[in-house]
Symmetry: C3
Subunit: 676 residues, 3 copies
């Protein structure tokens, strides 16, 4: 995504100069931005009310003044469309912009991300605002790209949404009979005779707090519908903006594993993926890495934008620890290491009032550059400038893919039984971590992805198998691929209807097993995975919990059996040869040692090797571009670590030549280019 205007790593972030009506402060801002190597500012994220005082009036003079001022100092603008919070006057005059919440209550003006996605008023004025901005700024030389709205999310349950839902259902099902069948409405007397009888599923009808539903079909479709509705809002602005600036990229900032939107669908609609990364002090660094990889996967590995991260502190967690010295820098490089081409902050200057006043910023309330945070920002800025355009567009190559599916997660969360403790993201992360500790690159792919080109595909808890997916997996394995999945897979189709004939349904012949029953116990109760014999790194036994598939082999090799309970001795891990490849099934939630051992064994068998073996806590990734390789070595530990390089490298951050044994500082980073 080399951008001709600014062909280097973009560095900067959200900037809200309208919160200060002081030219002196604006001047200071510019001065510090330049000191810090900042070259991009995101403007106008929340200024709808400010720039549009009524239905007819648009006043961009203030915004233009700031864009000019920035551009005059070499700083480009990522221009937001400001539609993530409607004006108070609009809420007052046109209450249809206000959401009705999960409890069925119409909200009043307040907060942000507050507009009903199916409000005619909202869509009308959001489109108009995009057009007004496009028209006004299309030729501004400082305009670098568009940032539509902000962190789309949340559902609405108003009458406009109900009408929209019925329309969406008609388009999806065509006839009410088909809907009745695919929602299985003869259960609990839910037979519908007209579309008008269908109401939105919330706390007043089918659902309870925490993704509890008594009618999964309805609830699943409502999530699809709301995700689509919000996406339509994005697309509406996207389309308008394209008419003015066909060559500028357009994005909106996503939120990683945020559950409510089907980001694979969103990724297709965006020119470039961008996202906001807010790990807490106790977030595993592997989970941050995984989320970067997931975001990269939304557009098939295309580099993405780190749109927001805090330079220091958040405000909305329970305990908002400071990022320790060096950690902001480390995590900035971690983003680049996983495919980001930008390092952007929320926020450049800290607000003085309202709920984000205790969120960190490049320029803190002290108002000057003599702060730890500023110094660290400055260092990163300096380093990124040195890198010029070297990394821009560089890709990550992986022989391993993990399947991730938002709809699968929704269906798992919504289903009643067998356990309330199944956490899809946690199960996925458990497998991801096994690759992460080996420094083996992983792609995240959707259930629609082409599997060709991968050696190993892992699909944890593939509960929902959509039409055609099983066949694609079978072809992949037949052609020599290795496929790994887990307990509670192959259960339902995309309508959350069970595939009859025996679990894991459409995956049954692939795995060569039949799962007769699935036991569920309090996660504090454990069984054991007892290896039938040593297999690579796996031997002896491991703990497992959560769910316990009772498996019959129908041809699969039994790699391990349960250690206790009435199914002691029955299979828990199996491997089935299928065509030229094999399919491994893990019938319970193993402990990390098991999953690590399993993945290492499979990788060894497939010849999938580490980029560089490292001590625990040291992460390695590689980006390549035009035959050049960039190796990121990230020390997540608070101690120095030593490691041994295999080749000879140039550390791009210091221009040192490195080879053999090298030492990383606490939270230190190497960015190594192989010496040719």
């Amino acid at each position: 995504m080399i951008n001709k205007k600014l062909p280097q790593i973009w560095y900067g972030g959200d900037y809200n100069p309208e919160q200060w009506d002081h030219p002196a402060i604006w001047e200071e801002d510019i001065r510090y931005f330049k000191e810090a190597g900042i070259n991009v500012a995101t403007l106008n994220v929340f200024s709808w009310a400010l720039n549009q005082p009524d239905e007819e009036t648009y006043d961009f003079s203030r915004l233009e003044m700031h864009m000019n001022r920035l551009y005059d100092h070499g700083i480009y603008t990522c221009l937001a469309t400001s539609t993530a919070a409607h004006p108070a006057w609009m809420a007052r005059k046109y209450p249809d912009v206000l959401r009705v919440d999960f409890q069925g209550r119409q909200r009043r003006f307040g907060g942000r991300h507050n507009s009903c996605p199916n409000s005619p008023t909202y869509r009308h004025y959001a489109g108009k605002m995009a057009g007004a901005l496009g028209s006004h700024f299309k030729d501004h030389p400082g305009l670098l790209m568009w940032h539509v709205s902000n962190e789309y999310g949340g559902y609405c349950y108003c009458d406009n949404c109900a009408a929209g839902f019925r329309k969406w259902l008609k388009q999806s099902y065509h006839s009410i009979d088909r809907l009745n069948k695919l929602w299985n409405t003869r259960f609990w007397g839910h037979t519908f005779y007209s579309w008008e009888e269908i109401v939105v599923p919330n706390a007043l009808s089918e659902e309870g707090e925490g993704n509890v539903s008594v009618f999964q079909g309805i609830s699943l479709d409502y999530r699809r519908f709301q995700s689509d509705s919000l996406l339509e809002c994005y697309q509406l602005e996207h389309t308008v903006l394209k008419t003015f600036t066909p060559d500028l990229q357009i994005t909106t900032n996503l939120m990683g594993t945020y559950s409510e939107l089907d980001y694979f669908k969103w990724g297709k609609a965006m020119d470039v993926v961008s996202w906001d990364s807010y790990p807490a002090l106790d977030t595993p660094v592997s989970l941050t890495a995984m989320t970067h990889d997931l975001m990269r996967g939304l557009k098939d590995g295309k580099p993405f934008m780190l749109m927001e991260q805090t330079p220091s502190q958040q405000n909305w967690q329970s305990y908002n620890a400071l990022k320790r010295p060096g950690v902001m820098r480390l995590w900035s490089y971690q983003a680049l290491a996983h495919g980001a081409d930008t390092v952007l902050f929320f926020q450049l200057r800290r607000s003085i009032g309202a709920c984000e006043k205790f969120h960190g910023a490049v320029i803190e309330h002290a108002g000057h550059n003599e702060t730890r945070v500023f110094r660290e920002t400055e260092q990163v800025g300096r380093e990124l400038q040195q890198l010029e355009d070297k990394l821009i567009g560089a890709r990550i190559t992986s022989r391993v893919a993990i399947v991730y599916d938002w709809e699968n997660r929704w269906a798992l969360d919504l289903s009643s039984g067998p356990t309330v403790s199944l956490d899809y993201v946690k199960e996925v992360h458990s497998y991801y971590r096994a690759f992460y500790r080996l420094n083996i690159p992983v792609d995240f792919i959707s259930v629609e992805a082409d599997l060709t080109g991968y050696d190993l595909v892992v699909a944890p808890v593939l509960y929902m198998v959509k039409t055609g997916h099983a066949k694609r997996i079978e072809r992949f394995v037949e052609n020599g691929g290795t496929f790994v999945s887990t307990f509670f897979s192959g259960i339902v189709n995309e309508h959350d209807l069970v595939t009859l004939g025996g679990y894991p349904g459409e995956l049954r012949s692939l795995f060569g097993i039949w799962v007769e029953e699935t036991d569920a116990l309090d996660p504090a109760q454990f069984n054991h995975i007892v290896m039938s014999k040593q297999w690579g790194k796996l031997s002896g036994h491991y703990q497992c919990n959560l769910l316990f598939d009772l498996i019959h082999s129908e041809g699969a090799e039994v790699l391990a059996t349960y250690g206790s309970d009435f199914y002691a001795g029955s299979p828990v891990v199996t491997r089935n040869t299928f065509g030229k490849g094999s399919a491994i099934y893990v019938g319970s939630s193993g402990d990390q040692a098991f999953t690590d051992g399993l993945i290492e064994t499979v990788c060894n068998e497939r010849g999938i090797v580490s980029l560089l073996p490292t001590p625990d806590g040291v992460e390695v990734t590689e980006r390549t571009k035009a035959g050049e390789s960039f190796l990121f070595v990230l020390n997540h530990r608070s101690e120095q670590v030593a490691l041994t390089l295999i080749d000879q490298y140039n550390n791009l951050l210091t221009n040192e030549e490195l080879a053999g044994e090298v030492t990383l500082e606490p939270h230190g980073v190497l960015l190594l280019k192989a010496c040719l």
Copy 2:
């Protein structure tokens, strides 16, 4: 309750063939039902919307086809009236059928058990549906009995209920002055001058979540009113059905210790009690036993129906463990052992969609009979057929009764102070367990029951003493009975107004004590019950907690005193001679060892003996009929146990002769008929 059509133990359960429009599946169903010895299917539980597409049309052709098909294969139908979930079209056209919830929000269509019991529309169409079914099926030879609605429960707070409540109050209190007096409305300025001023007690007026109320009189009466309102719905259908089939039994399925309905009142209105038993993996088996006994008590010991149990797994618990091998059989016999004449399942074939798709069934998603669950079902079916009509109508004889009162529980839950941790069911269970471990049969009786014929009556936490109850208890004791009650008894009358003059109020002379105060501590804090001297099995000291009555003896013998705190040395357990009998008062919540010792001691004194002494975990009950005795011996342990029979028996399940030392398999069952 020998039924001439099917004079044997009914075996089968809920069957929803309308969920599959596949004749092939229906044929498979019949084949497997016959293999499993199934002779009864409950049809039409949730098909209102399917069978009545609009106000005027009733189409029972599908239902009749299934009844015919079943009957042709010797399977009878327990026919449900389908009124537990109104159709969506009805909710749309007649919103008065929708409940207003505790938060004051009118619900929309969704879920089940969703109709306002005071909705004119609901009552009109529910009655019409019962009539239509009665008229259509009254002469069907396969029609075995009626199953009205399903698991009645939940309260409504709509305007129709408010109007109904006022009417109910007028009928109960006649004058507003009397209501003011009995609700004590001069407290907190609640004086009412007209019935219209009274509003329903919910989160918008007098109550909070979790049975919190600031005005107990109103809240208590609202529970009575709602229980009565739902009962009127039952009775409405019952009456209609009787006009068509005066000789068929009518029931609705209850839910054990479910708190919201006064089941003793319901029991009177039903021809036979039926209930749904869903213990979790960690439910004490003694609690299941107790609940069976409670349900049997609703109709004075008449045999009841086990209407639902799962063959394997539930879906709505947090962790839905499989029933371990043998446990479904064991618990089926446990139901029979406590007076059930049926063994019925929810469900015969598992749904493929919506919220019960992960609830176990006789025919699982695999769709065939090669499953553990099916094999166990088959075994039980075979055994029950062998039993023919031997057990049908057999009764349980008990010299012990435990008093249970739903209104007492409501009043305890609603009252503010002295502790939030008092759990009526838990206190009752603690006393029940003491009999259970001795294999001493227990009847559950209401506060209206005749006590004649019992030797020992236990009434844990008899907080509310209704008019006349104290006198009946006194007569019972005067005539030689032994009465046991506990702390916080005798406090209020049926209006939750305190009986003045000293606790335990109307029971004070019976117990020969005065309770001056009641201390309440965090249940993690303990005092001790220190025995004054050895008494039977009781000596030394025991832990107690929760509440601590500060007792003065007014003639009672002090059996034990407190061990610590400022009331150390003051009475905690007393016994008063009253006429020919005695009354024992336990002033705190003793640990199980204490309660076990107390009950064993009292039983020994009264010559109430065990049916058969057994090791822990082995339960024994006896049913008798026409001079014949049937002894159930149930091994709830996962190990073999040995025990010694006193007489010589025939095991009806194996036709073996047994005497002396016998061995029970893990989860094994003996059904012993004495050899005469």
Copy 3:
């Protein structure tokens, strides 16, 4: 506050004879009151509905009869205005009296404290009721004082409140531009163009449960507005009553550290402060002491009234333990010891129904005087009579003040970040305890208070520094005062807008430090305060947690540094010389040992000495009047303790002469007058 009618310690409490229509009971009441030495009864707290059956009718005959009867027996009446719970007829006819709750739901009739403070109906009829009572009873000889409403509290969110809020805002901000600026509304697109666009902040707009807000400015002002609205209701009645009885004192009963009302503002409007003290079994006695001192501070040290305490038990806690023998007496003297001139109970006779029937009373349900509770009441009554008017009006003298500010607490609670665990009251209590254990008297003062006359002022977590406050503190220190504050101080102004330029903002030069950042960790994680050298009682190291200010000294002496983490070695406790005084800053939440050591050290340096050194658990306070000193010695322990008196005293409770070593009984009390 010597009252000519009854110049002694008032003893009695809430009395609701209207709950019994039995002259015999009323006669018993009087008899027992006299036995117990009761001389004041609070009547009419909740009888609005009883005394006013409709818009026009007022019937005080019943009330007058009770006042007469009491007065005839020498008992005076504290007459309540009964406006804390509107009549049901009013709620039905004029729904505007009903509050709209935080969820936006209009409530229905129920509970108490249920009127919207901005309801025209409520204000009209509350004023009329005050007038009717004033007119009727102004000349009654038994009328001792007025008790307006009861425990004002709770907020309303109705349309009348919304309109009132806008009016209040106009008066506060004059222009919408100024409001926009001071609410920082350019954040998140909140720019308002008209007052009508502003909606109340609740769960439908800006807030969530638990003082969560996304817009602090709005939420903070709404708390001010609601506190003011309720205060206007008080003032309305106050003004009316004054027209009838200009010489009688008027009060309303407050609730200690209750968060929703700005009691310093309320205190000014009341003739005398009264409050209801309900410690639980596990409430630290120092917290009760602190709350008494806080209530005394509301009117600059003027004696206050203990309006309610329970003689034995409460009903609304989770576990309502009895007050142990002697504890009611002990806590009664504790109230006097801290400046109360009355000892009043809720309640004199226990209700028989509704939610306070399990709340203790002087006359219990037993209905006679042969109870522990009555005997203890009697003893206290006898003792108080002996004291005659000796204590009345006696004051407490203190050289130490602690700053307490309701608005500061609101702002802390509302702010998002840096930690959810900051508890203002807990932090204040931690400092208070350090004085308490030394028996050093403390005044509580508002942020507006004159600091002259104090040697030491402590302001824990002075997050919000209002206009002029910093200057007043600086003058205080310049003139020789010692000022102590803590972490997270000096952050915002009264609009919750951050003071730019570096924390602690306006206090920065006073403290001679700059706080660059504040780290927040889970409170289970600890750092250490490492003393730079021994300082008085402080040496070695202490634990600290919660928040960690990263401090740069700008001239202050570094007394202690952090022991670990990346800020190990940087300052955590500093002292700055400023003029003739010094300012101490504590940058984290130290453990109690640290705070105790700090306060003892500072007191030693300032020559602030203990009234009397005592063992732990023995509290000493002093009240003085006309040159006479009354020393209260309170043994909060359950064991006897010995202590040594310095002077010779007369124990007013026993008329014994005491000197040298004396022994206090468990929960014993000495009230010592120095022998001159």
